[in-house]
Symmetry: C2
Subunit: 924 residues, 2 copies
Amino acid sequence: MTQQITHLQLEEAVKRSPRKWVYLFSEGNAKMRDLLGGKGAGVAEMTNAGLPVPPGFTITTEACNGYYEAAKQFPAGVWEQVQMALQIIEQQTGKGFGKKENPLLVSVRSGAKFSMPGMMDTVLNLGINDETVQGLVELTGNERFAYDAYRRFIQMFSKIVLDTEPRDFEAVLDRYKEQVRVSSDAELSASDLKKIVDEFKQIAELQSGEPFPVDVFQQLHKAIEAVFSSWNNKRAIDYRNFNKIPHDLGTGVNVQMMVFGNMGDDSGTGVAFTRNPSTGEKVLYGEYLLNAQGEDVVAGIRTPSKISRLQADLPAVYQEFQEIANRLEQHYHDMQDLEFTVEKGKLYMLQTRSAKRNASAAVKVAVDMVGEGLISQEEALKRVDPVQVYQLLLPRFNDEEKWKARQTGRLLAKGLNASPGAAYGKAIFNADRAETLGKAGIPVVLVRPETSPDDVHGMLVAKGVLTARGGATSHAAVVARGLGLPCVAGCEDIRVSEEEHLFRVVGSNVVIKEGDDISIDGATGEVFAGIIKAVDADFDKELDLKTLLSWADQHRKLGVLANADNPRDAQRSVIFGAEGIGLCRTEHMFMEQERLPVVQKMILAQSKEERQAALDQLLAFQRDDFLNIFEAMINPKTGEGYPVVIRLIDMPLHEFLPSYEELLVETTRLEIQGGHDAELKEKQKLLETVRAMREVNPMLGLRGCRLSLLFPEINLMQTRAIFEAASLLTARGKKLHPKIMIPLIGHVNELKEVRRQLQSVADDIIPQNRIDYQFGTMIEVPRATVIADQLARETDFFSFGTNDLTQMTFGYSRDDAEGKFLLKYVEGLEIPGLKNKVKILPVNPFQTLDREGVGRLVAIAVEMGRRARPDIELGLCGEHGGDPDTITFCHEIGLHYVSCSPFRVPIARLAAAQAALSNTERDK
Amino acid sequence: MTQQITHLQLEEAVKRSPRKWVYLFSEGNAKMRDLLGGKGAGVAEMTNAGLPVPPGFTITTEACNGYYEAAKQFPAGVWEQVQMALQIIEQQTGKGFGKKENPLLVSVRSGAKFSMPGMMDTVLNLGINDETVQGLVELTGNERFAYDAYRRFIQMFSKIVLDTEPRDFEAVLDRYKEQVRVSSDAELSASDLKKIVDEFKQIAELQSGEPFPVDVFQQLHKAIEAVFSSWNNKRAIDYRNFNKIPHDLGTGVNVQMMVFGNMGDDSGTGVAFTRNPSTGEKVLYGEYLLNAQGEDVVAGIRTPSKISRLQADLPAVYQEFQEIANRLEQHYHDMQDLEFTVEKGKLYMLQTRSAKRNASAAVKVAVDMVGEGLISQEEALKRVDPVQVYQLLLPRFNDEEKWKARQTGRLLAKGLNASPGAAYGKAIFNADRAETLGKAGIPVVLVRPETSPDDVHGMLVAKGVLTARGGATSHAAVVARGLGLPCVAGCEDIRVSEEEHLFRVVGSNVVIKEGDDISIDGATGEVFAGIIKAVDADFDKELDLKTLLSWADQHRKLGVLANADNPRDAQRSVIFGAEGIGLCRTEHMFMEQERLPVVQKMILAQSKEERQAALDQLLAFQRDDFLNIFEAMINPKTGEGYPVVIRLIDMPLHEFLPSYEELLVETTRLEIQGGHDAELKEKQKLLETVRAMREVNPMLGLRGCRLSLLFPEINLMQTRAIFEAASLLTARGKKLHPKIMIPLIGHVNELKEVRRQLQSVADDIIPQNRIDYQFGTMIEVPRATVIADQLARETDFFSFGTNDLTQMTFGYSRDDAEGKFLLKYVEGLEIPGLKNKVKILPVNPFQTLDREGVGRLVAIAVEMGRRARPDIELGLCGEHGGDPDTITFCHEIGLHYVSCSPFRVPIARLAAAQAALSNTERDK
């Protein structure tokens, strides 16, 4: 191996192999993420940009996949190419791998296409043995440093590669520290470390059953294998499942010359962002430690300095680093997250990648970079995750306050960031008590082992929810997101005792008792003791966001409307940029306290007159409802109303009556106790009525247009209220666009008849052509999708009610499925005899529209409907309307608009723009 | 108009018109039913065959439609062509229309494409006025006859054309009869009738506001208009709705020379079938009256004679008639229903049409005609309505006995003919008592206001079921049809009092008390007091039917399998010609009395061991179940088993537990009463379990494969039982074809995982390749239809579960919909302000597969499934499998088989053959 190895020889070795498995950093570039992984592609790009990167090479993700295909054997040629690449590195560095003189030490790191921080394995300082350690001593003149590197290597290699018990090594270190009466590893002397190295080697041999490898090539071979294997460790699989990363990508392996930040005060190591990842401010942000290795920064024994202090410590290095940071931003047109090491005054760049940033920073950086000419508006729009935008609209903790809380040890635990937003309040361990206190105006955070539908009344008044169990799609998470309620779920660091009304923090003595103040950050999953002040979001002050959304509006093709059932939500939706109301549900109006008795009177009426009296009362209520909503939706500048789609009553009537079970218990009690004959008789009568109206499957029962066909008077009353309200405003000079939507249509004859009835009301009330109204139908029954041509001929618009459509297409009752099996379907089922959980569904179809099933039906309906009536207006108004993936789908199939909850309107605006942009790209 | 008119002139008149509106009988033929209507085409065909038909002509159905399009005006040319045709008739008969000498009288009759007996209007004796009546007197020498014809004409014309009140005319007749002290119209003298004619004319003038028309052309014009209008009278519309006849066909109008059967004892009128319509025997069957008009036969004042007596009365006429009847059968290749009149010894044929016949006759005539060489086997197969065949397999009342019961006033009421068959027994008003008596061998008819699942145990032992409420798809009707149990449903003529154990007959004093004998005819809906003897059907003795079905088997392409859950049904299905079991449901087995407690133990088990013990017990039961079914399905000749498709458990587990409501009442009672702490605690625990398992929409909940994925042990036990049973029989030298079917698949991952589990059981039990088994899936969730390609790659067969697929595609819960709105949807809704009911659905989609919605999805699945896996086996196993329309659809989309209840297997065999034949015809 004394011979000079050239790239040409490496290429020849490649020709002998099935493919090229190994790329020198100088051979790669940023576009090769698939093949080299993110880290490999990043260092390659930096290398080629002439930045100071320690030389090295990357083993491809294909090699990793080949390793699994070959039943955990290196595919042919991998090892040969690795050895050759290593020789080229030796030539470049003048160092020798396994050589006593000027020994080459390398790091072996994982690096997949998508960053999976901390999930896979890394081995540092590889290449040390009893011989090379001497070379290291000679080279550095620092025996302590050399033996410390040696013991670190054995410790790390044993844990990662040999799978030994880490505690045994710790015990040895502890013993030596006790013997020499020091408290930190750093205080151990070179001679201590020598002895420790010997003991470590014995432990490794004892536990692995073979001598600790002295052959550096054997070390390297095993370390590469270990990294390949770590792709499929449980942690990594769970992470990929959670982040929807495919399991067949494989990881790259980066073998790189070690550089040492712990070689004195002219050395150091650090991490930095090119801009502030919390605020987006354009200033270097990060921290470093002089005379330290990366591990030390993580260990947290010494407090790192802010990056700005490097200017004083090592001015030349700082300036070089600053220049490099700027060059990398220019190069990548994005904010970067950098790792660097300084070895004896020389700066080495170890990693660059697109920086993670919070919502504020994402928006500001994107908008700023457009101003700086770094990126286009289109690019800026693509840079911001629409879901992040949502966070900007929720209360957040003051950063300073949160930092202080962390510094003072008040960070108790970290769970899943299940529903964003900040909340503080008294920890309450029971939904009933939470309800009582919440209604009394006391802020509470509901804390439960996990939640069930029985807890919802507590959630409704809580400021936030914390659960110890359950994932991102657990009941708590799903309900909280629906309510816009901050939620930290599956917080395994706490143990909740319902009986004792408290939770304990695992691994500490901290106990939070009922009534104690806590704060939770749903965006990060953090749980704090005590109160951290939260700042309410003010959309109007989010100037960068407003700029970004104004660009989005220019690019998107999809309209964005809001689901709003009352004037408050209507106003809010306009502030958030909605172009109208896409779904105004009328049943919530019926449920309001003062009205419910009237509704019940109507349902239970014994005579036509009694019923009519109740209907007349409701007419007055409803006319006001619609008047107020229409008014809220009038553009003050033009006096013209945004379109408002009002859905006629959809709920089964029995939902307005008392519960059957309660009545049953009541009558049973009265029967047994005796002596309440009049009351009993009345209750029995009511019980009979409710019994007769009960349904086995109310979801599939008498509701929507079915109800209207059997009892037309409710629909007629609502239609009258709508047109009377519209007429009043029209008389005041406003121009309105009410749209009446008929729910649950399954057969064209239903639509024809209901529409005929509504038309007759319209003809009755509206003077010729004075109001621009439309009739439309929801498409929510699977049958409606395949007869959409017939329906289109009878109607002005379709609105896809994808909640119900999903329920019926899957045959999932949402009330039952989510608790009973759906979450398990998404998270994976534990099957006896199988190691991995079996995932049935990729995502919860109630959150993201199921393209291949429900989406297929929607697409069929769009195509049929449009063929029958080219000008039909098409929208979607399920909860999916605020989901970016679904919005992309809606754009692709050519809907005119989506409608979502007011808070989600900004998300939808951005997501719609992104969909339009990615479409444009595809068209190119 | 004295000029001779020729056909040529008529043709020229046609050329001047937009089209030919009028066809002389000699211009038409039997194939012109669309244009001339059934009656017109029939008399035209007879005319051209040289049979003695009074001359006439037909105004086309197109003219009728044109009349409506022109807002109730005759289209241009109609009247001109009518007048010319009339002149040709005058020339043919030597009579003159409106002429005093030898006046021509005509009948004006409706006649649509499809027979609508009695629904539309007819005017006889048209052409009479004060002048022509004299001619009639002179011609016949019979003044009484002439004036009787005149008054009949005025009476009929006034009612039909002038829309006057018929009772006023009757009152006049009654007054005269009283004056001259006679009791029948026939006894009134010529002078009475003259006066009556005068009074009638006055009444007509008074009521219509204008003089009674003396112009015979005016009479004719108005009569034709009246017939056109009668196409859209309410009666006719309802009839067409009920019989699924389109509303845009229009009616023809037949204008024909009157002949008179009431001109003495050498005259007469009658109706006859060419064969016996009850038995199919080849002998003239019918009746006639001498010296009478058709009306007199209908009026029933005189008793008609059997047709065979005509041989003695008018031998020459009888012989001619016999010959004509034979000729018509030969001509039409079908049994005919004939109307004739004899005028002074001359026989006139007035109508011939295909004869209605009952099930026995239909089968015998079809098979006989093949023997006679009149029709082919293919034609015979098309002649029999598959639904009629069903009736041949059920007990029937002896016709004579039933007639007697009617005569003696024992017919109590008439309800819906919900499930055919005859039954008699003691009326019992409660399912428990019915069960007790039924098990004691006493025949009972269960009588309920309506039935629910709580009544099924009573239905199982009853001979028949009678309900006061509910339609053709009510619980009672559906369950009864499933059980092959006679059922009269929705009998609104009775009021059932559960408390008093009796029913009252509305509008009478009759009360039927518990224990009284009653008889019900499920084929007609009749309810009788007392016992009427029923004759059991014996399939083996239905030789003609068996012959017909053997022909069917040669022609059909669809396989016919049976739904059978136990050995008895399995055996029966083989007798009826099933080629295997297409659906063996396993939940019924779980419900059996001795097993339910074990099933409950399994569900409620507190430990793994407890659960396994229950499962082991169930395994033994199930192994026996499958062993017995497999044995019943082994062909004794070959030792080979027919295919048996076994569906794994589908029901939600909570259906095996006690009712939540009962437990609620129970615990409430125990709580209030106190002192039963142990029992209360146990009940409360059970209540909690049941509460936790309850579902809002069980139809869309935790069942089918969802249950199996969460609790695999039940499926694994069942699969083990199936393969162990199959192995036992294989060891005995039998060759089996078990097929295991996985229910409720909605996502391909469900199928993959369940199949993997089942496969592991199979691999465990079955020695290599010794049993030819398959795994398949039900397609019953809408989503499954649009991902059928994915499913096809994982499975050997699809079976369309169209019951659930219909529920989910429409969003109809069958339990709720049928009672609450579905029947109204089918029958038509009464909408305030609308004259006609509004029909939403053409048929009940649970009886006949909804082609345009559910069928569309099925077709999509077939196409996708086949593309992904060309050899996939495709069947249908919903209740629709026994419905002829659905079977046609299944044939058309190329399924391999249908599976239906054993009793319906013969229907399916015939319907499948018909589908294949009609396909062959289309291909020609």
